[in-house]
Amino acid sequence: MSTAPDAPSAQDERTPEIGRARLRREDERALTGRTRWTDDMTLPGMLHLSVLRSPVAHASITELDTTEAARAPGVVGVWTGEDLPEQGAMPTAWTVSDDMRTPPYFPLSVGSVKHVGDIVAVVAATSKEAADDALELIDVDYDELPVVVDPMVAKQEGSPLVHPDLGTNVCATWGLDSVTLGTGGDAAAAIREAESDPDQVVVRRTLRQNRVTPAYIEPRSIVVDPTAEQVTMWSATQVPHIVRILMAMTQPIEEHELRVVAPDVGGGFGGKLQFTREEALVLLIARRLRLPCKYTESRSESMQSSHHARDQVQELTLAARRDGTITALDVDLTADMGAYLGILTAGIPLLGGFMFNGIYRIPAYSFHCTDVFTNKTMTDAYRGAGKPEATFGIERMMDELAVELDLDPIEVRRRNWIRPEEFPYATVAGLTYDSGNYDRATDKALAMFGYDELRAEQRRRREAQDPVQLGIGVCTFVELSGLAPSRVLGGLNYGSGGWEHSTIRMLPTGKVEVVAGTTSHGQGHATAFSQIVSDELGIPFEDIVLISGDTASAHKGMDTYGSRSLVVGGMAIVGAARKVVEKARPIAAHMLEASTDDLEFVGGKFSVKGTTSGVTIQEIMLSTWLAHDLPDGLEPNLDADYTFDPENFSYPTGTHLAAVEVDTQTGRVTVRDYVCVQDVGVLVNPMIVDGQVHGGLTQGIAQALYEEIQYSDEGQLTSGTLADYLVPAAPDVLRYRTDTTVTEATTNVLGVKAVGETGATAAPPAIVNGVLDALRPLGVTDITMPCTPSKVWTAIDDARRANKGQVTA
C-alpha cells in the first residue's frame, strides 16, 4: 500500500442531506391554513353536484322519476343512467386470469343496484344545499332481490347471484404452486406425508381478515372546469396520471383534452388510488353543461362508496417437523371483491399470494385464491394491499405452530427464517429477496422490549390468576414494496407498467425544479426528494423545489401507491440528476479548459483533478442559459429526464413486539408497550420514516382492535359513519418505541427500501398473537379481528364453559 499522499481532490464540505432528519418544508402551508384542498375551490359559474345512492343492497329499479327534482329551485339538471348514454364502463386494470368475469359497472347504474351506496342519479344545482334537497324529490321504486354478504356463502352453488348474467359469484380463481414454479416441492403431498409421520405436525386454521376502510380524513372531492381548451379536473386523488389515462380510455374525452391535478390531498392509504365513478360523473356533467362543476362526498357517502379492503377468509395448513422446521404451507383463500371491480380489486389477493411464505424457508408451497362477488362495496388497495393479509396468515400460523410444539414463538421463527448469508434468496413463491438480516433486527427489538422480563411477569400473573393477563405478541415480517418491474407486472396481467419518471429542470439563477411523477399526500416528498437532489447535485436544499401532482407539468408518472415513491420514483430522480451532471461535464471542461476525463464532480463543483480550480454546477447553469460560449454543437440546456424501471421489488423487514394486557373480566385489551425495529435500508429522512411507521402502526393496531366495516344480512351498512366505525383517537393508542437496523437494498443505488406500509402490515398479527398469548391458559385459541371487548369476553366465556364441560365430564 502506497504511503504517498493522494493528490489533493475537491472535498465535499457539505453535510450530506440523506440521513438528516430535516423538518418538512411542506408544513408551513398546512400549519397556517393556506393549503388548497379541492373542496376549497370555487370557480365562476360553478355548479354543485349531489348523487342519489341506493338505500338497498340489491334490487332492480322498476321506476326512476326525476321530473319533480328537475323542477326544484336551483336545479339545473338531473340525470339517470338512461339519460347518460355517453357514459363508458368503469375500468379495471387487473385481469388476473383468463376466466375473470368483469361485471357491468358504470358511473350511473342502469336498471339495478348492487350494494348500499350504488349510484342511481345525479343532480346539478346552483348550491350544494339545493342539489341535496332535490335528491329527496327523485322517485325510485326498488324491486328488492336476494342478497349475499358472506363470501363463503356467495361461492356456493345456489346462493343468490350478485350479477345473475354472469351465472356465478366467482369472479376469478388464481393460484401459485412451487412445483409449477420450480421453486419447491409438492405441498399437498408433503402435508399428506406429515399427517402420517409421528415426527411431524400439521396445523390447520381458518383465519378471517376483517373488512376495513382507508378512512382518510379529507373526503374525496372533484372540480371540473370545461371552459378552457384543455378540460381541467382537480381531484383529491393519489393517482392523477392513472385517472387521466383511464378517463381517456373509457369516457368520451381524449387524453390530450384532459388535465388532471391533485392539489393538496389528504391522507390516501390506497383509498384515493382509484378512478372513481364520481370523477367520471363530474366530468360528464360539466362537459354537458359547459360549466364548472364540483362534487364533494360526505363522510357517510365515503363510508358507503369509497372502497373497502381486506375481507378474506384464509384456510391455512402448515406442516412442520417436531423440531419446528417447516415442511409445507398450503393456502386456500376466499377474497371478497364486493359488487364491482375497481382498478386493482382482483389483484390484491394475488399480491398476497407471493408473501404468505414471509421470511421463512418453506420447501413446498401452494396458494389458491377464489375472488368472489357479494352485495357490498368493492374492495381494493389499503395500506399494504394484500401483504398485510398474507403476513397475518403466516405470522398467526407461526404462533400456532409454536404452541403446538411448545416452543417459544421467537425460537420457532428463528429456526425457519432465511439466514443473512443466504441473500439474495429465491423464495418458494418465486420472488428474490435482495437483502435482509432478521437476527439483527430481532435481537435489537428483544433487548429494547425486555422480552425475558416480560415473560417472567407473564408467568407470575398466570400463576396468580390475575384478572388482567399479559400477552406478548410477535411478528417478524417482510413487505413487498415498490410496484415494480414492468415485465413482472406484465406477467401478472396488470394493465400498467411499474416505472417512474422524473425531469430535473436547471434554472439560470442556479435554482432547480424537480418534476416527479409521484404525488405526495402527506409523505413529505418535497422534503425527501429535495434532500436526494441536493446530495446528487451538490446544490443547497433551499434552492430546490418539487413540482408534482399535475399532468400538465409532471406529464409522465405512475403516481403514489404501494410504497413506490422513494424506491421507484426516487430512483428516477437520481437518474435524472446524474444525467444533468453528465450534460454539464463538457461545459465545465470547456470553461476550465480541461479535458472531461480530468474532471471530478464533488459537492456541486467540477474540478480538475489535483488542482483547486473549479466551477460550480450553478455557475454552469447561468453560462448555459447565456449560451455565449459553449463547446461547439452543444445543446444549451442542462435539463434531463429519466425513466426508471426497477429490476426488483423492495423488501423492507422488521420485528414487532407487543405487550398487551387483557382484562379477563371485561374483555378489554390494552396495548401496554409496542416495540418495533424495522430494516428499511438507508434512511433518507429518519423523521419522516418515524412518522410513516407511527401512522402505519396505528392503522394496523386499529384493524386488530377497533375497525370493522359491518353489514347486516340484508346488506345494510351498519358502520356507516365515524360514530360507529371506530378510527382510533389519541387516547386509544400509545407511544411506540421504534428503531431501525440498516441492511442496504442491493437493487437501487441509494440502498433504500420502503416504509409506508410496514406498520399496517406487521401490527395486526403482533397484536392478535399477543391477545391470544394472554388468553391461551384460559383455553382461548382464536379471536377474529377486531378484538373488541365483547368479542374477547365472549371468547373467554366460551372457553370457560367448554373447559368446565370437560372437567365435569
Binding site: 423538518l23 418538512r24 411542506e26 408544513d27 408551513e28 402551508r29 398546512a30 400549519l31 397556517t32 391554513g33 393556506r34 393549503t35 388548497r36 384542498w37 373542496d39 376549497d40 370555487t42 344545499e129 382507508p214 378512512a215 382518510y216 380524513i217 379529507e218 373526503p219 393538496d264 390531498v265 389528504g266 391522507g267 390516501g268 392509504f269 360526505s298 363522510r299 357517510s300 399526500h521 402527506g522 409523505q523 413529505g524 423523521m687 419522516i688 418515524d690 412518522g691 407511527h694 401512522g695 402505519g696 402502526l697 396505528t698 392503522q699 359513519t721 365515524l722 360514530a723 378510527v727 383517537a729 389519541a730 387516547p731 393508542v733 407511544r735 411506540y736 406498520g759
Partner: protein, 161 residues
Amino acid sequence: MARITVTVDGMRFTHEVEPRTLLVHYLRETVGRTGTVVGCDSSNCGACTVLVDGESIKSCSVLAVQADGAEIETVEGLAAGDGTLHPVQQAFHEHHGLQCGYCTPGMLMRSVCLVRENPEPTEDEVREGLKGNMCRCTGYQGIVSAVMAYSQAARDEEVGR
C-alpha cells in the same frame, strides 16, 4: 335569512345567512376562510375545530346564527402578521405533528384551548384532551409530542414575562 355579525381572526364581518347554515360552512363559503375544513357529518373528526370566544368547538356542530356577536379564531389567525408561526404551530412543525395536514387546523385550535385549560398537561392528559380530533396519518405520536412541547413553551413564555 338572519343577519349576524362576527369577528373572525380580528376582522369584523356582517352577513345574511340562512338559519340552517352551519358555522363551518359559513366560515368556509361566506367568509372565505378555507383553512377550517370538514371531515365528517357526525361531529366525530374534529377537523372543523375553531375557537369561539376562546372555547374550542366543532364548527360543524353549531349554526352560524349561534355565533352572532362572537369572537372566532381560526387557524388562519394563529401566525403573527409577519408570518412568524404561533408557538403551537412551531411545535407541530418541530415534532412532525402533521403529515397530510388535513386534521391539522382542528388539532392546532384544540391544542391551544387544551393548554390554556391545563397549562401543565401530562402525556395522558394531552391524549385525553385530543380525543375528539382524529388524525389518520401520524398515529398521534408527533402530535402529542408537539402539544407537550407547546405547553412547555407556553409556560416558559409566562415565566419569561
